[in-house]
Subunit: 206 residues, 4 copies
DNA sequence: TATGAATGAGAGTTCATTCAT
DNA sequence: GATGAATGAACTCTCATTCAT
């Protein structure tokens, strides 16, 4: 709107698509630097149309985050649930959760980071994030329960809490890989997580 | 002539103090909403003086984050290192790291959140954060090594990685307490962390 | 997707009714803040339908003002003309014109204010207002003429000008009541107007 | 701010001067169309500087109105108070108050119009307008009192109320000249006001 | 060294209006 | 005829930053 018309690519008036593009912009620049103007530039859709579609800037951020984590969760769930063996499911969970070497995973990680941060400030989002966290943990808990039933795992305390620990392990190690020192790369973090998970689940060393 | 004269409390021309106040503002409003003006309002120091002292807005944010986590780290270290028994040290680490019910701890948690997020974008900060993460892990690693030497712990793999897992456990569970559902309150999270830590360290159930 | 669907009350597809509701909105918010959206909210009629019905925003404002003052004039005329005694007619005119304590009258006054202001800028409206002013004065002038004929009044100069003065008295005192200091409340203003009117009409003190 | 730099005339960073220019703009376009941008164009001072100097748009409008009527009041007072004879003072008041043929007076009139309208909505302004109205009336009241003391006038009721009537006469007739029909031009209105004033003041026909 | 004044650069938001159905 | 969707145009306001003292 400076002086050059924001033209470039044909309008992509598909809510889904718009959100995806907005996410790309946000992940690149940071969510706090997500501007209507940037999304407009990226999509060719006028600012006012974006506002018409999404409302306020905060609304947009919220929706982008929500849609993003929902997609992430769905992706991880699909990968995990197609496995049958409990430990293999746990392994898959750890592997997919931690390995953030490739760009796509890093993008996912940045998304989570923003999501958590936003959720810890925005009560509307926190409600949403509560459900996400539960779903996340449930995914692991089912594997734990199955493993216990099958006699593969021997756990202390309720499986809910064991699942919480496993999720924490993955989140926490991802964090170290991403923002920690470079002695903790994803391969090593994954190895550490695997070992600790086996311990927590009462499995012997391989 | 903005509207209200930025007066209120006497100027606090102490760099340390200024940073602390800036942190309070940032934690309350969010770091992306940290404005010179707000700090000026909170401290009584004119905007231009703050700029004179801290430079650019980004510089200010960086400094606030850096000073904040340094303080946090120092605090935790002091609490942990005054214990002698390895497992007690681990316990202290877990307890202090997770319990975020009281306001002060929540403030600390928000700070970490911002710090991680900022570090994952700002390379200057990432370098710093690398050191912080190392120090963090080292604190735990020493306890692990001592425990192993003393025969209290029986671990698999290098102690560095065990320490990494324990740190991850604490960070990840804190996360769940803070942004997760309300089924995971800090008491429960602490319990889960304790149990998992014992397992990881090869200790029997208490 | 603005935010709230513009629903609430059933559509009022009656031009008259629509104008009345628009007037209520305009009087409350001020005519310069009369928005299609507000009228839409108040009536349940979609913005585009209002535009279809009334044209441009300026058109709407003009129509609302015109319809409003016409109604006001009619009301005052009805009240005045049902009296037969000339002085009673003048009294009624003064009383109804000035007393703006109750909400309805204040609404009427705000309308006049806006009307005058608009008329002093909009030539299309000024033409209309010219007629209104004439009608207004004529109402009073007839009473004056009747009183003169009946020997009740003794005036100097043409009755047209005497009528103009009486109208001015009412308008001017209303103004003082509305925007003047609180020493000039409507009771006092009415009393002053009555006294001055008697003098102007050459009547002795009561 | 479109694309061409707002340059033209050197900045006139004198608050007084700025207000005067803003008034000129406002009177021409209407106060509800007073935009920072227009004042910026007219003065060569950047929008943000105007905002720095005057605050919010509403603040600007208020200040322009206030300064404007204060100036008007001072001007009228000066003209009136340099006369000694009570009736001459009244005459001067009427003449200056009504004759709005020349542009400058019309400008003054538009200002009053806006002022009244604004005061009837803005409580902050109403407080101010209350004082103005009092000053206005006091000016006339003093002349009335002097005339009574000198035996020139014979009034009914308190002089405060007589003054209120005289002010009303002037305001109301100005209104008719400005927005009324063209049968009521300022010469005629002035004549009517003079006659009515003489009557109200109990003076015989000349 | 420290600070008030001034300003440029956006960003969000509102709103009338156009257009296709 | 009536209406929802979409959009261009403005405008206010905030804020970091520069500059002169």
């Amino acid at each position: 709107m400076t002086d050059v018309k924001r033209k470039g690519r044909p309008p992509a008036h598909d809510r889904e698509e718009l959100l995806r593009q907005a996410r790309a912009v946000a992940v690149e620049r940071g969510f706090d630097a997500l501007r209507f103007g940037d999304v407009a530039d990226a999509t060719g859709v006028p600012v006012s149309s974006l506002q018409y579609a999404f409302g306020t800037r905060d609304d947009l951020v919220r929706e982008v985050l929500r849609a993003g984590v929902a997609e992430e969760l769905a992706r991880l769930r699909a990968a995990v649930e197609c496995e049958v063996d409990p430990w293999t499911r746990i392994e898959t969970f750890i592997r997919l959760g931690i390995s953030i070497d490739d760009d796509e995973r890093r993008e996912g990680w940045l998304l989570w980071m923003e999501y958590w941060r936003a959720a810890s400030r925005d009560s509307a989002l926190r409600e949403d994030s509560s459900g996400v966290a539960r779903g996340w943990r449930l995914l692991v808990r089912r594997a734990v329960d199955d493993g216990v039933t099958a006699g593969d795992f021997a756990i202390d305390g309720p499986s809910e809490e064991v699942a919480a620990s496993l999720v924490a392990l993955v989140d926490g190690l991802s964090l170290q890989v991403e923002v920690g020192d470079n002695r903790m790369r994803s391969a090593r973090a994954t190895r550490a997580a695997m070992r600790s998970a086996r311990k927590i689940l009462g499995m012997g060393s391989p």
